[in-house]
C-alpha cells in the first residue's frame, strides 16, 4: 500500500508549485464549506467541478479511483443504512425472512448528501496529498502552528507503518511455524488469546522501537523541533489559486442561502 501518495508527475502542476501553507489552508477551508452544504444539486455540481479540477491537475483516473475504492465501504454502508433508519414517507419495503425494512425518501436523500459531502472532501484532500511531498506537508502543518507532537506522530506512523507491518507478518509466520491456525471463530479461546498476545507484543515492540528511534535522533543532534527549510513564501499565483478554491465554495454557500426559498 503506497501511503506516501505524492505523485512526482504533478510536481509542475499549478497545485504542485503552490506554497504549502496556503494550499493547506485553502483546501481545508474548501472542505469545511463544501461539507456544510445541504443542497443535493449544489453538492453534486461541486463534486463535478472538483473532479474536473482533479483531472485537469493531471491526476490519473486510475489513482483517483483507487482512492475512491477506499471510500466505498464507508459510503456504501451509509447509503445502505440511512434510508432504513430515517423516519419519513416510505418509498419501498424489503421483506427479509422475519424483518420488514422500509426505505424512506428523506433517508435516501440524507444518504446521498452525506455521500456527496464525503466525495467532495475526498477529492479535495486527494488534491492536497497528491501534489505535496510528505515532508513538505508536515513542514507546512508545523508552520501553521499545529502542535509538533501531532505532526511527528503522523510522520512516524507513515514511516513505520511498513516496518511494523513486516513485524506482524514475521510474528504470524512464527506462529504458523508452531501450527497456529488463524481464521478460527472469534469465540475460540486459544485463537483470541494468541491474537491478543500478538497485539500486545506489537504494542510493546513499537514502544521500545520508539525509544530507540528517539535515542538515535538525539544522537544526531535532534532538539525537539524540525529545522525549517527556509523557503516558504507564497507567490501571487498561489494566492489567486487559494482564493479561487475558497471563492468557489463561498459562491455555492451563497447560492444555497439565497436560493433556499426556491429550492424548499
Amino acid at each position: 500500500m503506497e501511503l506516501l501518495a505524492y505523485d512526482r508527475k504533478l510536481k509542475n502542476s499549478v497545485l504542485g508549485r503552490m506554497e504549502t501553507r496556503l494550499k493547506i489552508v485553502s483546501i481545508f477551508t474548501l472542505v469545511a464549506l463544501l461539507s456544510s452544504l445541504e443542497n443535493l444539486l449544489l453538492l453534486a455540481s461541486a463534486a463535478v467541478v472538483m473532479f474536473s479540477v482533479v483531472l485537469l491537475t493531471g491526476v490519473s483516473p486510475a489513482s483517483i479511483s483507487r482512492r475512491f475504492l477506499w471510500l466505498l465501504p464507508f459510503v456504501g454502508f451509509m447509503l445502505l443504512f440511512f434510508p432504513f433508519i430515517t423516519p419519513g414517507e416510505t418509498l419501498f419495503t424489503l421483506h427479509l425472512v422475519f424483518l420488514r425494512l422500509s426505505a424512506t425518501g428523506p433517508g435516501l436523500e440524507k444518504a446521498l448528501f452525506l455521500g456527496l459531502r464525503v466525495l467532495n472532501a475526498m477529492l479535495a484532500i486527494s488534491l492536497l496529498v497528491l501534489t505535496t511531498p510528505a515532508t513538505q506537508l508536515f513542514h507546512g502543518f508545523r508552520r501553521l502552528r499545529v502542535p509538533g507532537i501531532m505532526v511527528n506522530m503522523a510522520a512516524f506512523t507513515l514511516r513505520y507503518f511498513q516496518v511494523l507491518g513486516e513485524e506482524v507478518k514475521q510474528m504470524q509466520f512464527a506462529m504458523r511455524a508452531r501450527d497456529f491456525r488463524q481464521g478460527r471463530s472469534l469465540l475460540h479461546r486459544h485463537t483470541m488469546k494468541t491474537l491478543g498476545l500478538l497485539v500486545g507484543n506489537l504494542f510493546i515492540r513499537s514502544y521500545e522501537r520508539g525509544e530507540r528511534i528517539y535515542i538515535a535522533m538525539l544522537s544526531r543532534g535532534y532538539q525537539g523541533e524540525p529545522v525549517c527549510c527556509g523557503h516558504c513564501s507564497p507567490k501571487t499565483g498561489d494566492w489567486l489559486t487559494g482564493f479561487a478554491f475558497v471563492g468557489f465554495a463561498t459562491v455555492l454557500k451563497f447560492v444555497e442561502w439565497r436560493g433556499l426559498g426556491i429550492w424548499l
Binding site: 506516501l4 511531498p133 510528505a134 515532508t135 510522520a155 512516524f156 507513515l158 514511516r159 513505520y160 511498513q162 516496518v163 522501537r209 530507540r212 528511534i213 535515542i215 538515535a216 535522533m217 538525539l218 544522537s219 544526531r220 543532534g221 535532534y222 532538539q223 529545522v227 527549510c229 527556509g230
Partner: protein, 269 residues
C-alpha cells in the same frame, strides 16, 4: 592523551539492573578499536555514554580532556557519531536524502553546507544514486550504509558502531569495513562493538574486553590469543589461533590470529 577516557563508570537502569560497574578504559586517538564481550556485558550501554546520550551516574567520561556533562553533551554528539545496530531505528525519514541531511541541519549549518555534506557522505558510502528513494524500499545492507552516511554527514571525530557486521552478507560486510578503513585513514577514530573475535583480530588496532560491566583487559590484538583471558570474557579464540593450537608445537611460539599471520608462519617453516 587519549581521545576518550572512561574512569570507574557505573550505570544502573531504572529497574535496578546494574549495567556498568566501575568500567575503566580509554579510546586512543586515530585508532581502530574493537570492544568485545558476551551478550549483556554492557557494551551497548557503554557506547551510549561515549556520545553523551547517557550521562555518567558514577565515574566520569572525558572527551578530549573535557568532562562530558549536560552543558557540552550537544557538542560531544556532533563529535562522536553513533551508528546503531538496527538501521530501521536510525533511518527514519521518508527519503534517503532527507535522512542524511537531518544531522547537519540539526547542527544549524547553512543550506548549501548541509547539501554539500549530505552529497559527500552518500558518495562515501556509495549510495548517492539512491538519494530520492524511500528507506523501506532499500535492502538491509543499503539501509546500513545510509545510516552510516547520516552519521558521516556530521563530520565526527569518532564513529562508534554497535555490531556493524550483524545480519550483513559477506559482500555487505566488506563494503562497510572498506568504508570504515577509508575513514580511519583520513583520521577518524573508529570504535566497534562486536563479539566476532575473528573480525576483531583481523581489523582492529586495539582491543577492549568487557564483561559484567567491567573492563577485563585493554591492549593490542595479541590479547585475543590469551586463552585464559578469552575464556574469562566468555569468548573463544580466533579460528586460526585454535587451528594452530590443535596442531601443537613449542609452547613459546606466538600463535597467529589472522590468515595473513598464519601464512607468514607457515611459509617460514
Amino acid at each position: 592523551m587519549a581521545l576518550i577516557e572512561v574512569q570507574a563508570l557505573s550505570y544502573r537502569y531504572k529497574d535496578g539492573t546494574r549495567a556498568l560497574r566501575g568500567l575503566t578504559f580509554h579510546i586512543p586517538r586515530g585508532k581502530k578499536v574493537a570492544v568485545l564481550g558476551p551478550n549483556g556485558a554492557g557494551k551497548s550501554t557503554m557506547l551510549l555514554h561515549l556520545n553523551g546520550i547517557y550521562l555518567a551516574q558514577e565515574g566520569e567520561v572525558r572527551f578530549d580532556g573535557e568532562l562530558v556533562t549536560t552543558k557540552n553533551e550537544r557538542q560531544v554528539r556532533s563529535k562522536v557519531g553513533m551508528v546503531f545496530q538496527d538501521p530501521d531505528d536510525q533511518v527514519f525519514s521518508t527519503t534517503v536524502w532527507e535522512d542524511v541531511t537531518f544531522g547537519p541541519a540539526n547542527m544549524g549549518l547553512p543550506d548549501d553546507e548541509v547539501d554539500r555534506r549530505a552529497a559527500s557522505a552518500l558518495h562515501a558510502v556509495g549510495m548517492l544514486e539512491y538519494k530520492d528513494k524511500a528507506p523501506y524500499h532499500l535492502s538491509y545492507g543499503q539501509k546500513k550504509r545510509v545510516a552510516i552516511a547520516g552519521v558521516l554527514a556530521m563530520n565526527p571525530e569518532v564513529i562508534s558502531l554497535d555490531e556493524p557486521a550483524a545480519f550483513l552478507d559477506p559482500r555487505g560486510k566488506e563494503t562497510v569495513f572498506a568504508i570504515l578503513n577509508n575513514l580511519n585513514r583520513q583520521g577518524t577514530t573508529i570504535v566497534i562493538v562486536t563479539h566476532d573475535v575473528d573480525l576483531a583480530a583481523e581489523w582492529a588496532d586495539e582491543i577492549i574486553l568487557i564483561k559484567d560491566g567491567r573492563c577485563l583487559a585493554q591492549g593490542g590484538t595479541e590479547l585475543l590469543t590469551d586463552t585464559l583471558l578469552v575464556e574469562a570474557a566468555e569468548l573463544r579464540l580466533p579460528t586460526i589461533t585454535r587451528l594452530f593450537k590443535e596442531l601443537g608445537g613449542p609452547e613459546t611460539q606466538i600463535l597467529p590470529k589472522t590468515i595473513r599471520e598464519a601464512v607468514q608462519v607457515l611459509s617460514k617453516k
